[in-house]
Point group: C2
Chain length 442, copies 2
Amino acid sequence: MLKGKIAKLAVSDVRFPTSLEQHGSDAMHANPDYSAAYVVIETDDGLKGYGITFTVGRGTEIVVCAVEALSTLVIGKTLEDIVSNFSGFYRCLTSDSQMRWIGPEKGVIQLASAAILNAIWDMWARAEGKPLWKLLVDMDPKQLIRCIDFRYITDALTEQEALSELISIGIQLNYDLPEEMLKEGYPAYTTSCAWLGYSDQQLTQLCSTALTEGWTKFKVKVGADLQDDIRRCSLIRKMIGPENSLMIDANQRWDVAEAISYVTKLAEFRPLWIEEPTCPDDILGHAAISKALAPLGIGVATGEQCHNRVMFKQFLQASALQFVQIDSCRVGSVNENLAIMLMAAKFRVPVCPHAGGVGLCELVQHLILFDYISVSASLENRMCEYVDHLHEHFKSPTVIRNAHYMPPKDPGFSSEMFDESVQKHQFPHGEVWRSILEKNGS
Amino acid sequence: MLKGKIAKLAVSDVRFPTSLEQHGSDAMHANPDYSAAYVVIETDDGLKGYGITFTVGRGTEIVVCAVEALSTLVIGKTLEDIVSNFSGFYRCLTSDSQMRWIGPEKGVIQLASAAILNAIWDMWARAEGKPLWKLLVDMDPKQLIRCIDFRYITDALTEQEALSELISIGIQLNYDLPEEMLKEGYPAYTTSCAWLGYSDQQLTQLCSTALTEGWTKFKVKVGADLQDDIRRCSLIRKMIGPENSLMIDANQRWDVAEAISYVTKLAEFRPLWIEEPTCPDDILGHAAISKALAPLGIGVATGEQCHNRVMFKQFLQASALQFVQIDSCRVGSVNENLAIMLMAAKFRVPVCPHAGGVGLCELVQHLILFDYISVSASLENRMCEYVDHLHEHFKSPTVIRNAHYMPPKDPGFSSEMFDESVQKHQFPHGEVWRSILEKNGS
């Protein structure tokens, strides 16, 4: 199954007009149209792989252009060529001697690498007939380690340390973990109740429904206006009661001093964490905020816009975060997330993935299952974000039961979308966009 | 002159086949084709502005695509709209609520912003009939400060501090500085003698010629092979003698421990700095390297791939560099470089710009002249990189006299290229590339 050559790579600009209803609105992204650069690869013997990277509307065409530029590094290779030396292929894709200049390993070109690598991991898992998390869990630790490019992180985690960590955890592990997970699922929290653009009435109603569905952990968007935030947090804390968890998310709205002062004023609502208090590049800023908020019992969470393993390494080294929010599409796919999860384990910081958008839940659930079964073996202070939008466009959508992610069973990375969804939402020529653009007179 | 509306924005993918002769080769970029996304803006009353961002070949089309996406934020505005609230326009361009997701302020989208903003600064300087450095030097400090987006850097430099710094320097300054500069020029160092792909013979010959031309500061590319580097550094140190300056540049080749060990072995050649020893994102790594090399008298220099003011802020806060290498095209143009130069001044770290490539020397000379005349007033440990390639394509090329940059006199940012050069080198349809691609059978 691994011998066919990758003969085709197609990429689509798929956008969902979520801004029409203020879904996904936050302090920095007022009107996102949840979108994706959607990649389909196919071998000459008919094996397929599907990968995405998530975007929020305008600019998706730039990521599509980058995927096309990188595609020459993929076409003609067999899956075996790639996975037998996966860190080598990773390096080749992310460090092309000309294209690395426009990154390196950050922004558009890294998002494009993620989409392609996600498709390759999907193809690999399909070839093995396993959901991706199971492929990872079953893999020999040595082979897992060979998927990681350790360049620039050996001062925090060497190849040998990573291997010892995996092997020692493997020996201690309760081999019933996968079975338990299949029954109970992985704990989730919801962000669907309190987007910034929602009215109080909408917020109250959504929160009330979520409570009846069994949700116990809730995230609220903050950062645009302090009085509004006090009202919204107070409302939600009253509704969910003192025992449930409340997290707040500022989406990079503040400078360092401002973050400390603002969050201090929300401390009475006892948030577990403040997410993205400032610029995602500001490691030292996050460290200062972490230090100032620790006495209040509020942690700092970040990661959805942390662009590579070198940044995560420094966040960990500087004690600049207390929750590592990996993202399945921002960094270099499973390969780079393996490095990040292993570093988080070494630094004893829990991983709580970012999800939502288009397909982020579908993909990242595989990674957090692997993290639980093969790396952390703990649920303490751990949970995975969930947002209930756009799952209907995926062939193997996430299954949430009693506020838990139920482990996917279909082979692959759960990344395949329905052809019809892709076609309808292609920008700008799919029927959904033709109709919107006609209405707007464009 | 500032009232016309920007009615047109054209962008070209311009590439020079420098890889054919190994110009620009280093430890990470084996075969760069020096390239640019070249932007021309024009108002409806006929004023023009020219801007570039530098790239090294493949991937330039992605930056071009990003410039096109951002152009909707520029078209229809007057130059007065823009410069009367320049930090507001900067924020609008770099923080579009959808496009910021694929950055923010990093990689492709930041390079594209730089190209557009460079064109706007060029247009402004032309409208005022001054070379850009003179526009900056003559500008009221309050107006200068209003060009800077202080978001995320107020923990290192507030607007008020920046203003006080500029005003107090202004009062102390020797008003003969501009006149002196016009006579003597700004000191430069050369990187043209020792690219990694050059033979020893080529290196010896170039170095010998450079010495006769008056060069006293030389940079050598290192990092691919220690024995080679020892031989090359020894050769150059012998040729230039003990008094002249030698700098070495690894272009991100090493991990942290490797950098320390490797550079220690080159310490006998007394390099003034090691440039880009590791990942450009690794602030804490550079801090560790700086600390380890300080006893050897070797500083750390970095910046050409440092993607924004927030990263420079942290490099300064962490004492992670001893030479700030600003780049005219990597970060958000003059606006962001003003912030970086003012932070460097506050932290008392000298600015030694990165240049070379296509047009980087033409542009950055304006910034370093401003830094000298209005910010640092010092030449101690200061110099600007020079590489003698591709200047013939610019209408106002750099003038080097006795290893000094002679201040440009033509109005603008020296960023305009000859139409013929642009047309010939357009990728892939310009005649230079048609002929190369035909030879290669593509």
